[in-house]
């Protein structure tokens, strides 16, 4: 999988490393900005109130 991505990135090793870094950062950004905020309420870690539900 990662090997496949590496082989399909253009340029020499340095360019590829840079592009990989950009890709990683993009993935982390998407996770922090969209995926985790969405997933968090579905997980039972942060209910602090007492209620009837």
């Amino acid at each position: 999988m990662y090997g496949w991505i590496w082989r399909h990135l253009p340029g020499n090793a340095w360019v590829r490393a840079l592009l990989s870094l950009v890709l990683v950062l993009a993935v982390v950004y998407v996770l922090f900005q969209y995926v985790f905020p969405w997933a968090e309420p579905l997980l039972p870690f942060n209910d602090v109130t007492v209620d009837n539900q």
């Binding site: 999988m1 990662y2 996770l31 985790f36 039972p44 870690f45 942060n46 602090v48 109130t49 007492v50």
Partner: protein
């Protein structure tokens, strides 16, 4: 010399079945196993990132937001310096100071929905029991909740609060000084009776001016609720320099 050596090496290696990294044709099973392994590693990394997100990043975001909203509230207070003025409940009604939690001031806003609490503030209950705000002067229970971990983690150190510790609620005009008189270290999340106007579980039977802090326990989970009860000791007028009451000074 080195170049020729490399060349000969490559030449001897290339024609056979020698592995050139990344080019070797893998068997179908080997490919499947390797992709599966990479997926597992990825899943592990994502879970690790989720922990970083929950315990660190949400705090960064929430503290930033809470600071901004707190400043806004203080600005509003400073502007309408005379006259009673309508209490602006939208931005927050005041600040909670609990010296034993060592977390500075916590802005208190209306409601205990995740939207509110995720801003790094404490929220006073509107549901299932309506909290009685101290500013009304009526007897009742001022019940608030805040996060134990993540999103500002404003009540993270609730277990450091001992009986007898002060809890001070600051509004535009008054300091409401409460004293902790009972603690319930673990209760069911369905136990809404802890929020009652007269919290019987804390041993009180008569109406009074109470405060209830709730959060989740043990840390990093939401299995039970932690409850701290306090009773109003006195109300102190805010002076022109906003000198904090003596409970907050030492």
């Amino acid at each position: 010399m080195a170049a020729t050596a490399d060349d000969t090496e490559e030449q001897t290696d290339a024609p056979g079945s020698a592995p050139v990294p990344g080019r070797r044709p893998m068997g179908r099973i080997a490919t499947a196993v390797s992709v599966f392994g990479e997926l597992l590693i990825t899943a592990g990394l994502v879970l690790g990132l989720f922990v970083v997100y929950s315990l660190w990043w949400t705090n960064v975001i929430a503290d930033r937001k809470a600071d901004r909203e707190g400043d806004k509230v203080r600005d509003t207070w400073a502007q309408q310096d005379t006259g009673p003025g309508a209490l602006n409940t939208k931005n927050g009604i005041g600040f909670l100071h609990v010296p034993s939690m060592k977390n500075g001031e916590v802005l208190v806003e209306k409601g205990t929905s995740t939207d509110v609490l995720n801003n790094g503030v404490a929220g006073y209950y509107t549901d299932p029991v309506k909290a009685t705000l101290p500013t009304t002067g009526k007897t009742g229970n001022f019940a608030v909740a805040a996060h134990r971990d993540g999103h500002g983690a404003k009540f993270h150190n609730i277990d450091k609060v001992k009986v007898g510790d002060p809890v001070v609620f600051e509004t535009r005009d008054d300091w409401y000084v409460y004293k902790v008189y009972d603690i319930l270290p673990e209760t069911s999340k369905y136990n809404v009776k802890v929020l009652s106007q007269v919290p019987k579980e804390s041993g009180k039977t008569k109406p009074g001016h109470y405060i209830t802090l709730t959060t989740c326990t043990p840390v990093y989970t939401s299995r039970y609720r932690y409850v701290v009860w306090g009773e109003l000791v006195r109300v102190q007028k805010v002076d022109s320099k906003r000198t904090p009451p003596k409970e907050l000074r030492d």
